[in-house]
Subunit: 345 residues, 2 copies
Amino acid sequence: MLTGLLNIELPVVQAPMAGVQDSALAIAVSDAGGLGSLPCAMLDAAGVARELAAIRSATGRPVNLNFFAHRQPAFDAVCDAQWRRVLRVYYDELSLDPDDIPAGPGRAAFNADMVEALRPFAPQVVSFHFGLPDEALLAPLRGWGAKIMATATTVAEARWLDARGADVIIAQGLEAGGHRGMFLSADVSTQLGLFALLPQVVRAVGVPVLAAGGIADAAGLAAARALGASGVQVGTAYLLCPEATTGALHRAALQDETRRHSALTNLFSGRPARGLMNRLMAECGPMSGQVPAFPLAAAAVAPLRARAESLGRDDFSPLWSGQNPAGCRAMPAAALTRLIAGRAD
Amino acid sequence: MLTGLLNIELPVVQAPMAGVQDSALAIAVSDAGGLGSLPCAMLDAAGVARELAAIRSATGRPVNLNFFAHRQPAFDAVCDAQWRRVLRVYYDELSLDPDDIPAGPGRAAFNADMVEALRPFAPQVVSFHFGLPDEALLAPLRGWGAKIMATATTVAEARWLDARGADVIIAQGLEAGGHRGMFLSADVSTQLGLFALLPQVVRAVGVPVLAAGGIADAAGLAAARALGASGVQVGTAYLLCPEATTGALHRAALQDETRRHSALTNLFSGRPARGLMNRLMAECGPMSGQVPAFPLAAAAVAPLRARAESLGRDDFSPLWSGQNPAGCRAMPAAALTRLIAGRAD
């Protein structure tokens, strides 16, 4: 039983969304009886400890801590220079010096420092994207009783996670916003819609499965349950909540009916992630063979984003969204959580 | 009410699948209380009349007649020659003369001849892929009381069909096998997983919506209903039925657990369609910018397919399948129809 396993009341997990939320959203969802999530991939160990302390002072409920489990690539100067040449026209347009671009927003893979940062808090739920870290890093978490959740985008990935002892598997349909969790293949044609992925994952594994992708309300939860899910993980629907830190341009795009077209793009980080189409995606093509490996691609676009946003433009902003942005609700996260769970007041 | 509107008993429509079925499958599904479909796009008017006569002599139940509503492109000799150059290595390998390739399997768009072929039978249900034909061609069908169904792959397409008087809209999630019904855009990144597409289409239109893509059993029907569908259209699941004309190589591929990877490919016809990966798709890339426009691309591959199949190889065969081939059942179509409807004996 998912709720018993995770010690929560409602089978609704708020998807961790790095860059658009901090502990406030996670606390609100957990306090409502769902499972809030704190995205930790863009935090250092001190930052994680600080957010965890804030969570513990605010709620006694479990909160999921989410990490990335990628392998950090070596810096490739040739590829990096090639990518900056592609972007040159934009640096010029925005009067930025391409030789003066700082290292961008990093995404650190889960490591031993993080284990030590977590240890004093003994968090009850930890989730991973892009596979799982080595068993040596998982063992301490299991030792203090944490349940391990991880994302599968194919049946093969679900079997891989099940064999390595994941306690809960998140079946991420390609409807989902943000980074694809794919880790056994880099071929986006392997990615499945949730109607096809979910029942096949449920049949393939022995642990509870969360459905993710396009789900925004109680009907979505009911549909996921019909296909065998034990619960749902919902991201995009929370992006307009007051507790999210979603920027004004991002909020405006999500509410713009003329901007419902999302696509997988690797331009912002180096890995495919779903966001609403914007100028950079339209002009470069959303998937490019010229971007540096994840997460190194982020550095080159970051100053373009900052400058354009200061001018009120989202031309270079990652407007993360699933394929159902119409499901966003500008309401408190607690109310949205109850609504998704079918417990609307 | 879908079943009342279509005069059927069960809310299960068998998807029309040109090349892998004839009237036998349609009759079996309709006799079981679902709605069988006859794919007419690869038949001429005489062929349609012949199949309709066979249907009428076998069953009094409604059967859906499916047509394509594309615009036939002009033959482009340069593009055609370029595509044959790409395939040259395969012609050589199979000892075929590339200068001696006949016109391939055509797909005729619905036209006035078809209206006249249908008129004596006054069919009760007619469905269209790739939009709708001109109103002048639809008016006679409406005149004899036919209900018009059409496929939408985006919310915009659903609104377009609703505005033009479609009686039922089929929301085709990108999980679905065979040709994408897309007609307002050629950009496959606009295509949505069914969990995102279905609820948005249901909210956008005023007519009953059928859910299509990845659905193979009663759980799929229940999930689709939870998201607002009035019924389901199921294709892939029927491919192993004895009444289907699915070839032996295609049947073997569908049952091969190591061949679960499907992709959208335009290599076989010129339009994106989902099939299991095979040699041609792997070597050329499933989507190519070099193929002639639909349906002209089919000619060049057809002789490769025929020769390779005679050697027992599916290297050049379109192995149409949705993303859930594990849902195929080698059982009579009537039993499968009842199973999907939740009326299994």
